[in-house]
Amino acid sequence: MAQITMTQALNLAIDEAMAEDPGVFCLGEDVSAKQGGGVFKVTQGLTEKYGAHRVRATPISETAIVGAAVGAALAGQRPIAEIMLMNFVAVCMDQIVNHAAKLRFMSGGQTPCPIVIRTTTGVGVGFGGQHSDMLEAWFAHVAGIHVVTPSNPADARGLLRASIDANDPVIFIENILCYGLKGEDPGPGYRVPLGKAAVAREGSDISLITYGRTVLDALDVASDLAKEGISVEVIDLRTIAPYDEATVLASVRKTGRALTLHEAVRPFGTGAEIAANIQEKCWDSLKGPVRRVGGTFSAVPFASHLEQAWIPTKPKIVEQIKLAMGRL
């Protein structure tokens, strides 16, 4: 099969959806041809194909961007809004949380709000404190919205396509460090259903539950630890919320141990919900407490070696697994 990058995978998903459905359109800062198709080039080539009305470069006005997406969705269209970096959701939470997520419920089901909000973030590029946060936990805590993130190009294509299909709002989180990641192209029409996790690697000793970029770290750690005789099962959530509880619980019932992992800061992160739920539902299967690894509880620092120390590195993951296994 052909190899594609994450960026190409995303672009293909959007391209395909736009070709099939005239109601799909993109909007966001710098997204159109005149600006080079977005600062991360995800929307490159689409203006030429679908025209300026369907690839709208916007002012720096995130509230107006998401608000416009909400309004267009109420009128039956399927907007894909780009928020350049995840920290900027902080200026438009109202449109996302008080409106997009609630309009189906508050209208008694009359006005579903099928929008996709694509955004990106990531620690390790030296962007500093205001451009690196992973804020998925905020959205996971809000009813009425899907939170999705891919860890590889095939999933990127399939999850984005499914997100555009969805009849509810989706926060679609990309990781800057993964745009160049290569992988197999699953081909046209490919969908990965929302709410379904993947067992990225099977194992029998411990379930390592993660998503996005850290799936790569998890897989590395799993293959390293296999050499030491520890069999790690890696679960890639793909949809962070509402997440695939069945797959997670089945895995933990099998392995008897669990570790959650995310780049977001650990306290009150998504790992807390997963851990709390596992211990409640799998109490009798657990051989020890569920452990959690996450980013350091501070703003992301600028200096490169501080930033590297900040992230949940592989040694930290290994340490927690060994603790869980009683091997430390």
């Binding site: 005239p22 109601g23 359109f25 009305h53 369907r54 709208r56 916007t58 002012p59 006005s61 509230t63 107006a64 961007i65 998401v66 608000g67 416009a68 997406a69 909400v70 309004g71 267009a72 969705a73 109420l74 009128a75 039956g76 269209q77 907007p79 200026v91 109202d94 449109q95 008080n98 409106h99 309009l103 189906r104 419920f105 508050m106 209208s107 008694g108 089901g109 009359q110 006005t111 579903p112 009813a143 009425g144 899907h146 969805a166 009849n167 509810d168 509402p242």
Partner: protein, 322 residues
């Protein structure tokens, strides 16, 4: 003085009285303790809403606020459904889940009623953007207050609307107060309308209590929008003749203001216009009587209607829970 034909005058009068009689009825029910919900009175602003809705076509979109009774009833939400929602009944537009601050009725074009100040403007742009994209010829009107003109969403929405020449109308109902704060204590410029210029947009300030100002202003904005000429900001001057919501204290309003407000009451003014245009007292009273009858029936229906099923709290969260 631009002319308005008699049919349109009758239409505006009917809508105005529908708004007013609904408001009176709601206050009566609250006063009698027959219902106990949040209600944001529209006394003093009836004509603005009614004239604006009369300038739209049925398929046009409207976005309004918690103080949206005027737009909602004047646009034509069936009264039973409107009252049902306000009373939290299963028969309401939103099955009682939205409530007085969140009336939605796509069938009549009431697309969103928001409780967050200013947040309707960007959403209105989106509705208009959809119309621009799919060429359905619809116009979107969003109503908001003077206080809302100071929140970021207003600014972002106006700039974006003008940039794309969206078919949208920004109708600011300047009732001189944002909750307890008077205009001059929240805004340093002499008008909201003049802000339009900073977006390259057309802006007009009109007397919202004068049908010959408010109706033509909205009508022209609708025509411009429909013709692809872009958005308009209309500032309609009016008065909030009651407190911020029913039952809330309004001792902070100075007596001169209360005097002025009474002098400018749109209802006697409109009645006078109607009489000048050869409508008879009897004709006008008959219109009101019919409205009252409809309202009474709708209220009775809503009062008798069933409560929503308790499981509604789990429904309509996501599609799979619908």
């Amino acid at each position: 003085m631009p002319a308005i034909d008699r049919d349109k005058l009758r239409d505006i009068y009917t809508r105005t009285m529908k708004v007013n009689r609904t408001d009176e009825k709601f206050r009566a029910l609250l006063m009698q303790g027959k219902v106990a919900v949040m209600y944001y009175c529209v006394r003093g602003q009836e004509l603005v809403s009614a004239a604006a809705m009369a300038a739209l076509e049925p398929q046009d979109y409207v976005v309004c606020t918690y103080r949206g009774q005027g737009e909602q009833t004047a646009k034509g939400i069936p009264m039973e459904k409107w009252w049902g929602e306000c009373l939290g009944k299963a028969t309401g537009t939103c099955k009682g889940k939205g409530g007085t601050m969140h009336i939605t009725d796509p069938a009549t074009g009431i697309m969103v009623t928001t409780g967050v100040v200013g947040s309707g403007l960007p959403i209105a742009n989106g509705l208009a953007m959809a119309s621009q994209n799919n060429g359905d010829g619809r116009v979107t009107l969003v109503s908001f207050g003077d206080g809302a003109a100071n929140i970021g969403a207003f600014h972002e929405a106006l700039n974006m609307a003008q940039l794309y020449k969206l078919p949208v109308i920004f109708l600011c109902q300047n009732n001189r107060y944002g909750e307890h704060t008077a205009y001059a204590d929240h805004t340093a410029s002499p008008s909201i309308a003049m802000r339009a210029e900073g977006y390259g947009m057309k802006g007009v300030r009109v007397d919202g209590n004068d049908v010959f100002q408010i109706y033509p202003a909205v009508k022209e904005a609708v025509e411009r929008a429909r013709a692809g000429e872009g958005p308009t900001l209309i500032e309609a001057m009016c008065y909030r003749m009651m407190g911020h919501f029913f039952g809330s204290d309004f001792s902070y309003m100075p007596p001169e203001h209360l005097e002025e407000m009474k002098r400018e009451d749109p209802l006697p003014k409109l009645r006078k216009v109607m009489l000048e245009h050869q409508f008879t007292e009897e004709e006008l009273d008959a219109i009101v009587a019919e409205i009252d009858a409809q309202i009474d029936a709708a209220v009775a229906h809503a009062l008798a209607a069933p409560l929503p099923d308790v499981d509604e709290i789990y429904r309509d969260v996501l599609e799979e829970t619908a």
